[in-house]
Subunit: 375 residues, 2 copies
C-alpha cells in the first residue's frame, strides 16, 4: 500500500452482469491507457466523446491522443458544465453529435466528465439506435464512486430530477484517480459523501477506516485508489443483486430522498448546493429521523455528522445559504421523487452505522413534522 | 368463421417473453372492453393516453368511458397526426404529460392511434422513471399487425428515421378491428402491405390465402380478424426468438431498407408516400433484386407486384409522385439506416415467395446499380 501511484496500484473491479458484464479499472494515469484498454474490449473503431467545458481543456487532448494512437477515430462535443446540461436540449445535442459521427452499435459513446456528463452521455448511448456501446471515464470523485457504475442514466425535467432516463450499463469504466487533483475541494468533498455512504449502508469497518484515513484519501495516493475501489465494489455488489432497482438497490438512496428534495428546493443551483452536499445533509437527516423513530441511537447520527463536518461537508439544512421554500414544498418534491409506490413514501432508514434498510411505509405526516423541526 | 364479429370471434396471441410476457387481444369493439382487460392485468390506477388529432374525436371518449367505468383515472394528450410528431419535441410533450399525471412505475402510458403514436408513446413510457407500464391500443392496420407488437419504440431525427428509441415491450395490446373502418382506404392498404410481408417472409400458404381472401379482409368480418391474428402471431414468433434484433428479427425488415430510403427521399411527406407504401415498393424491389442476383425467379417478383397492385398499392419507384433526389442520396439514406454493420450493407433477400433470408454482405455498388436501373 506504500508504492507510488502506478500501474502496480491499478485496481480492477468486475461487474458480473451476464451479457452486460463489464470491468471498472481504477488507477492513476488511466486516461493515457484508454486506447489500449478500449481496444482490448471493444470491436468498434469509432467513438463520440461527450465532455463539459471544465474538463475539456484539462483532459480531452490526452484522451484523444490515446484513442488515436490505438486507431480509434473520435469526435467530441463540449457542453456547458453543470446540472442544467442534463436536459432535453442537452440530450438532443448529444444524440445529434453521436448520430452525425455515424456511431453504430459496436462503436462507443464516451463520457469524459462528472456525473452530469455521464448521466447525459449514457442516456444518449442508450437511445441512439436503441443502444450503442458506452464507456465511462468519470473525472469527479462522485462519478468515479457512484454515477459511472450501475447503468442508471438520465436527465432532469421541470417535474424533478432524473425523471427521464434508461438503464444502460457501460461496457467499460476507466477511473483515473489523478484527475481528481484538479477537482475543486468542494466537489471532492461532495463526492466523498458518497464514499461515506457505502460505509453507512452496510460496512461499519469501512466507515471507521474513513474516519482514520480520510486525509490520505483527500491527498491522493494508494488510500484514494483503495477508497474508490471499495466504493465501486460496494456499488457493483448491489447492482448485480438488483440491476433494475426493484428492491435492495434502493439502499443506495440512503440520504438521497432528503438530498433530492433539498436540491429541488435550491433549484439545482450548484453555487448553493451540489448533489453530494445534499446527500451529506440527507444522510445525517436519515440517521436523525431513524433515531427519532427509535430505530437507532442518536449517538450514531452524531458520529456521522461529526465525520462529515470534519471533512468540511454541510450536515444540516441551515448550513445551506439563502432562503428555502416552505416545508410542504420539500414534501411535494419528495412525493414526486421516483421512490414512491402508490402514494406511500419509501425511505432508507437505519438501525445504526452500517445497518441501513429499506422502509416502504413511512407516513408522510411523520416526515413533514420531522422536517419542520429540523429547519 | 361465419359468425358476426363479436366476443366469440376474439383472438388472443400470447407473447412469451418471460418477465416481459404479454397478451395481444384482437376483436371487434375491443376499446369498449379496455378497462376490464387492463384491470385484469395491471395494478396501477392511473393512465396517460397519448393520441393524435384524427383518432381523438373518433375513439378517445369511448376509451375514457371504459377506463372510468373500471376505476382507472386517465388524462390524455392529443398530438398532431403524422410522422413529424415522432420528434424530440413530440417526445418532450408526451413525457411532460406523463410526468404531470404522476404516472408511477405500475401505472400506464396508453397509445391510442397508429404507429406514430405507438412509437412515440412507447418511447415515452420507456424513459419516464426509466420505464413505466405501456399499453398499445393500435388503431391503424399497420399498427395492429406490426408496430404495436415487439417493443421497438422511437422517434426520427434529421439523420434518419427511428434513430433514437428504446426497446420497451408493451404490457398489453388491444387491437379493435372495428376501428379500421374509419381508416382511409389508402392507410388501410399501407397497413396491408405489412400483412403481405409475413406471407413473403416465411408463410407462402398465407400469401396464397391473402391472394384469395384480401377483399374480405378489406371489408371487415372474421377474415380481417384472422389476418391480423396470423400477422401478430408471426411477428410475436420472430420477436420471441430475437427480442433485441441481433439476428433473425431482421427478417421483419423485408422491403424496409429500400422503403426507408424512399421515405427519406420523399422527406417523410405522407401526401407522397406513407410507410406501408414504401414497404410495398421495397418488397417488390427486394424480390427483383434477388432475381437479379439469381437467387429467385423473376416470376415471384411479378406475382408479388401483381397482388400488391391489385389491392391498389404502389409497386415501383416511378409510382411515387413528384421528383426524387439522385440515386446516390438514396444510397446515403440506406447507409445511415440502422441495419448497417461496420460499413457493410445488410439486406433481406429471398429465394422465392415465403423464403426470405438475411444477407449481411451485399455490396453497395450492386445496390446502387440496381437502383439506377429501377428508377
Ligand atoms: N447515474 C447514477 O447512478 C448517479 C448516481 C449519483 C449521482 N448521479 C448524478 O451525478 C450528477 C452529479 O455528478 P458530479 O458531482 O460529478 O457533477 P458534475 O458532472 O457537474 O461535476 C461537478 C463539477 O466538477 C467539474 N469537474 C469534473 N471533473 C473535474 C476534474 N477532474 N477537474 C476539474 N473539474 C472537474 C465539472 O465540470 C463540474 O463543474 C448529478 O446529476 C446526479 O444526479 C447519477
Ligand atoms: N415500432 C415498430 O416496430 C414499427 C413497425 C412498423 C412501423 N413503425 C412506425 O409506424 C409508423 C407508421 O404507422 P401508421 O401507418 O399507423 O401511421 P400513423 O400513426 O401516422 O397513422 C396513419 C394515419 O391514420 C390515422 N388513423 C389512425 N387510426 C385511425 C383510425 N382508426 N381511423 C381514422 N384514422 C386513423 C392517423 O391519425 C394518421 O393520420 C411509422 O412511424 C413507422 O416508423 C414502427
Ligand atoms: Zn448520489
Ligand atoms: Zn414497417
Amino acid at each position: 500500500m506504500n508504492a507510488p501511484a502506478s500501474r502496480a496500484d491499478d485496481r480492477l473491479v468486475h461487474v458480473p452482469l451476464g451479457e452486460r458484464a463489464y470491468d471498472i479499472l481504477i488507477g492513476s494515469g488511466m486516461i493515457g491507457r484508454a486506447g489500449v484498454e478500449i481496444n482490448a474490449r471493444l470491436r468498434g473503431r469509432r467513438a463520440a466523446i461527450i465532455t463539459d467545458e471544465h474538463v475539456e481543456p484539462l483532459y480531452l487532448a490526452q484522451l484523444m491522443d490515446s484513442l488515436q494512437t490505438d486507431g480509434i477515430e473520435a469526435v467530441s462535443l463540449t457542453l456547458p458544465a453543470g446540472e442544467k446540461t442534463k436536459s432535453m436540449d442537452g440530450l438532443a445535442a448529444a444524440t445529434d453529435t453521436v448520430l452525425a459521427a455515424r456511431i453504430e452499435r459496436n462503436d462507443a459513446v464516451i463520457a469524459l466528465g462528472g456525473g452530469v456528463v455521464g448521466d447525459l452521455a449514457g442516456f444518449a448511448a442508450g437511445i441512439v439506435r436503441r443502444g450503442v456501446r458506452f464507456i465511462q471515464i468519470p473525472t469527479s470523485l462522485l462519478a468515479q464512486v457512484d454515477s459511472s457504475v450501475g447503468g442508471k442514466t438520465g436527465i432532469n425535467t421541470r417535474h424533478g430530477k432524473n425523471l427521464l432516463g434508461v438503464f444502460h450499463q457501460p461496457d467499460l469504466v476507466l477511473a483515473d484517480t489523478a484527475v481528481l487533483d484538479s477537482l475543486s475541494p468542494r466537489e471532492f468533498r461532495a463526492g466523498y459523501a458518497e464514499v461515506v455512504k457505502y460505509g453507512l449502508i452496510d460496512k461499519p469497518y469501512f466507515f471507521r477506516w474513513l474516519e482514520n484515513n480520510w486525509k490520505k484519501v483527500f491527498e491522493g495516493g494508494p488510500e484514494r485508489i483503495e477508497a474508490i475501489a471499495i466504493s465501486c465494489q460496494a456499488k457493483a455488489d448491489v447492482v448485480v443483486e438488483d440491476e433494475r432497482e426493484t428492491g435492495r438497490r434502493a439502499l443506495l438512496n440512503l440520504g438521497h430522498t432528503f438530498g433530492h428534495a433539498l436540491e429541488a428546493a435550491t433549484e439545482y443551483d450548484s453555487s448553493r448546493l451540489v448533489h453530494g452536499e445534499g446527500v451529506a445533509i440527507g444522510m445525517v437527516l436519515a440517521h436523525q429521523f431513524s433515531a427519532r423513530l427509535n430505530l437507532a441511537s442518536p449517538d450514531d447520527a452524531q458520529r456521522v455528522a461529526a465525520h462529515l463536518s470534519e471533512v468540511g461537508l454541510p450536515t444540516k439544512i441551515s448550513d445551506i445559504e439563502g432562503s428555502l421554500p416552505p416545508t410542504q414544498m420539500l414534501m411535494d418534491a419528495i412525493a414526486q421523487d421516483k421512490k414512491v409506490k402508490s402514494g406511500k413514501l419509501t425511505f432508507i432508514l437505519t438501525r445504526g452505522i452500517g445497518q441501513s434498510f429499506v422502509a416502504d411505509d413511512v407516513p408522510a405526516s411523520e416526515v413533514l413534522r420531522f422536517l419542520e423541526e429540523m429547519r
